[in-house]
Amino acid sequence: MKKILQLTLGIITSVGGFLEIGSVVTAAQAGANYGYKLLWAILLGTICLIFLVEMSGRLAAVSKHTIVDATRERFGFPFFSIVMLGIVAVAFLVLVAELGGIGLALQILSGIGFRWWAIPVSIIVWLLMWKGTFGVIENGASLLGLVTISFAVAAVKMHPDWGGAAHGLLPTMPGDGKAKYGFTAVSILGASISPYLMYFYSSGAIEDKWDESYIPMNRIIAGFGMTFGGFLSMAVLVAAALSLQPRGIDIEKFEQAALLMTPALTRWGFYLFAFSMLFACLGAALEISLAIAYFFAQGLGWSWSEDLDPSRDSRFAFTYTIIILLGAIPLLLGIDPIKVTMMSMALTSATLPLAIVPFLFLMNDSIYLGKHRNGWLSNSVVAIVILISFVLAIISIPLEIIGG
């Protein structure tokens, strides 16, 4: 009975926590520019993510070690420090984007510019971390995040052409504007396959004291949670394809995205969009701040848990305090969060090999995983992700220049 409750909660939190500024903006841009054509990128990203998240949970449940623990232990400090530098730098940019997303949501609601929200928002995020427990953060934020289901309602209400959407699930290449199309596809993949989610999930499994008996549950949560989440991303794309593309609106600024649901849901649509973004970005900001602090604490062997009093894991608490405060600075300077989002999504793709290649080794490590190590199917998926990630790393940088 308790397990069923945990299972339901797990799925709900993965759905509520799935969307964040990166996935919304990239999906909306794709829909506004290319109609249903880029749905395949979300599908591909989501399938990869399902497998990666399942593995992250399994590693933690079986070995009682997180991905970061295992990376440091197997690969040693010098290599680990390179991974840490790359992942933390990109995760920090994503944090800036999420904090900015909260600010932008508050801006369209209140009319007060996002720069003024930078400090209050980061203080609120920090307070939730300072006082909250892991359960409060994971479940609370994700339950609020369920308001993002309104994207699906909006998409269905606009009567999409299901046949055309199904067509979009197969990759195609446009005749002209290949660079921009490629850049958007790379950003979508970067937004879907985000390493911080893996680190957060595996740390969460330790916080929730998972053991081997959780392996089936982990599979179901990863499978269903990420699938429904992926559907929400697709709904954003479809809604943008129906509301913005026919009008010739391209999303350069947040104000344009705010009109996404108004044709379907009118006044409700506007406020649902604002609150969806507010809660989705809040949840993501909390998750990323935690993921960064976990990274340092686990990598360097500090004590860590969001459930402890800050003074019991002082270096951990100090790390997220500093990270959140630093995150407010670019926003205070007035840097457009949408630009940060696009850049961080492309850079996520570029740093993906750093996260995934060591992960493949860990998932085949018989010392950590014993008989639960990857089979051929999981290994093939990781191999494909690595292949994609190298292609992304190589092409995302030139595309950043040409398409960005």
Binding site: R74, F75, G76, L360, F361, N364, D365, S366
Partner: protein, 102 residues
């Protein structure tokens, strides 16, 4: 008697008595008794690296395809390693007298 940092030996190139390159130190084989942790030998070569990463399940198929030619390993007993200059570890014997180990 002197103290050196074992972790800084990892990845150092080893030359034999004639100055010929042998490989890099990847691993130390030790025995842990009640009283002390004694170093029995040094593992040099890519195979030792694979072992250190606990990656044989992943690498073995590749190794088989290459018929074991690439992933070599030497086990150097402690008596034959000269660590008087920790930055340039040397063998006391020529490379040809080393035995390959699995």
């Amino acid at each position: 008697m002197k103290e050196i940092n074992a972790e800084l030996l990892i990845g150092r190139k080893v030359c034999d008595a004639n100055g010929e390159k042998v490989g890099r130190i990847e691993e130390f084989r030790v025995t842990n008794t009640e009283k002390a942790c004694l170093v029995e030998g040094y593992l040099v070569g890519t195979s030792a690296l694979v072992d250190r990463l606990s990656a044989w399940t992943l690498i073995r198929p590749i190794d088989k395809a290459l018929r074991g030619r690439v992933f070599s390993v030497y086990e150097i007993p402690w008596e034959q390693m000269d660590l008087s200059d920790p930055k340039h570890p040397k063998l006391r014997i020529p490379k040809s007298e080393l035995r390959h180990s699995k």
